[in-house]
Amino acid sequence: MDFYTGNVLRIDLSTGTTRVEPLNMEYARLYVGGKGLLVRYMWDEVTPGLDPHSPQNPLYLVTGPFAGTNVSTCSRLLVGVKSPVTGIFNDSYVGGSFSPEMKFAGYDMIVVTGKAAEPTVVTIKDDVVEFRPGKKYWGMLTSEVEAALREDFDAGARVLSIGPAGENKIPWACVSTDQFHKAGRGGTGVAMGEKNLKAIAICGTGGVSVGDARAFLADVRRIHTEYVLTDDNLWVNEEGTPILVQPMDDAGVIPTRNFSAGEFEEIENINSDAFQKIKTRNRACYQCALGCRQWHELGDVKSEGPEYETIALCGSNCGVGDIEALMKFNRECDELAMDTISAGNVLALAMDLTERGVHDFGVRFGDVDAYLDAPQLIAGRKGVGADMALGARGLGAKYGHPELAMEVKNLELPGYDPRGSFGMSLSYSTADRGGCHMRSYPIADEILSGDLPPDSLEGKAQYNIDGQNHSSVKYTGIWCDFWAIDKNQMSQLYRHVWKREVTEEELTQVGERIWNLARLFNVREGVEKDTVPTKLLDEAFESGPSAGKAITSPVFEEKQLEYYRLRGWDENGVPGEAKLAELGVDVRL
């Protein structure tokens, strides 16, 4: 079928064997690609209640139908796994060039199971899959292992790897590709580390068929002109995500000193204006006309990023307004392959505990020297890093202050304090992978457009539901959030795949189907209660734009129940039979 290769590559590291099987096209019909395929395959293949640390826990690399074509932003790769951190469904997306290369090599999905006896690297050149001893690469930083595999295997290889953090199974170790691109959340790097898999390198020489290629080219050219490269979208190229820093500070929602304030007095040192002064160039992911990646140069640091989340969590949330230190910290995390959202949260918690006199971790808010030592200590589980490697929940619990750990379902929170954007509380509590801002984003209207009141949860349950259904179908594509694609635009592209007219309603239903199946999976795996840290509900800020305004636990609980009702789920958040039947979900608990 056009747009799909029709192949799934299965790699068993325990036996050192591989096989190729056909993609289940019935699943592709119902669940399309990316997130949809992941959740449907995981339902079948993850034994209910499976210990996520077990070698039997499969690691999935999933593409979307448009990977390898020139539909902008659709080069994103989905790294999926039953998370070793949250114990539930985890879909983490990463840009770069690995996903298109998978398609050129002939695979829609790669599924890795088992555990290698020794550190291993897998190389793939079209249909030739090889297991290589990985000892020489073990311990390498991400830039080093990428360069080494381009030297040892193929100069044009696309590399997916872990750094020392993944080798040492730091809970927020991530998977890295093209050096600066990370499948950041939920411990994807832990999953690779537990399999003794240092890297996968891939080269493909084949093609992706789309039917009438010249007609498709002409339509994509039109779609790019009309919807992608518009004046409204070009901020992505000009400034990228740092553009969010100042408005989030102005609105009083940027996490500061372990979520103790929503404004940071040194914000002008690390906002977009500050980064514009040291910007050197733009880079793009494969097949993306937008080119959001901002390269900066300062002192001896030349690198991509940091992005907004890093600036918020590793900057203001750690009390750090030193742009050079922030860039160095970001580079360290990139090289060690650690998620910066969790790193900033955990370090800020250690700083908080130190400042409160609970335990001296040798790090204080704004103390740049100790801050810069932290990534290495954590990744190596050395000194104070050993405790920090427990993650925010583990660290808070160990030192008797669980209320200071800013996490949901053991996933540390992103850079938006719900006290200044109430809708984000429901976004975090109901996100299918734990504390995440990328499933629904009410802050877009509560702060950025200003169309909705930020200090009310009225209507926000439905708002989050709509956002989650939309992001679920969007992540079949797999479109990046930088193209705020609507369903009409998606339908104009999906009609090339399905060779028929596509309605917006059916796309909404695909998204809702995926979201419900992911919930069913999470219920099956014993998902925790949907909530957020009490501090964010009941302790209002003392100053700033949202001073004195608290969501309050009772109101939140009521809205959480409203969310379940509107979803067609019971009061415990279990999807109901009527809803599952309506959506055509083909499995049951």
């Binding site: 770069g96 990428e146 084949g206 490269l229 070009l234 190229n237 080119g291």
Partner: protein, 150 residues
């Protein structure tokens, strides 16, 4: 003479040009058969673009022992009737190593040399370098070309 160039300073490394090139010529997205190359080092961010300079270069034409490369409107084309991928020469195809830009190859299916032909006057690589802030892939022409219809 008309030819495509890539500004390594402006190029973001999105590979849209290779994708569009291969789709236009091959009917599938297959950058391994593109007539234009962009080599990106993801770690350093350094980019190298490789394009055919057409008649401002002519190294392939000079090297071809079968006179299979001809000029029309300032563009070099392969005459497939004459090209035999130098099957009669022990050293193999002469045009491929002669190309300073590594954009001359032998097609795996037709077994003929293939190269950039500027897409009948609407180079898809240029068309898909669409971001108004980037526009790294452009078609160059000197004054003499203005009288030339490609």
């Amino acid at each position: 003479m008309p030819h495509v160039v890539i500004s390594k300073k402006k190029c973001t490394g999105c590979h849209m040009c290779e994708l569009a090139c291969s789709a236009w010529h091959e009917g599938v997205y297959q950058p391994s058969l593109a007539r234009i190359n962009v080599i990106v080092n993801p770690t350093t961010g350094v980019i190298k673009g490789q394009t055919c300079m057409q008649t401002t270069c002519r190294k392939c034409q000079d090297a071809c022992p079968h006179e299979a490369i001809f000029t029309k409107g300032g563009v070099l084309y392969v005459d497939e009737a004459k090209c035999n991928a130098c099957a009669d020469i022990a050293a193999g195809p002469q045009c491929v190593p002669a190309c300073p830009w590594d954009v001359m190859h032998i097609h795996p299916r037709s077994n003929k040399a293939f190269k950039c032909d500027l897409c009948d006057g609407d180079p898809q690589c240029v068309a898909f370098c669409q971001n108004p802030h980037v526009l790294a892939v452009t078609q160059k022409a000197d004054k003499a070309d203005e009288a030339v219809t490609v």
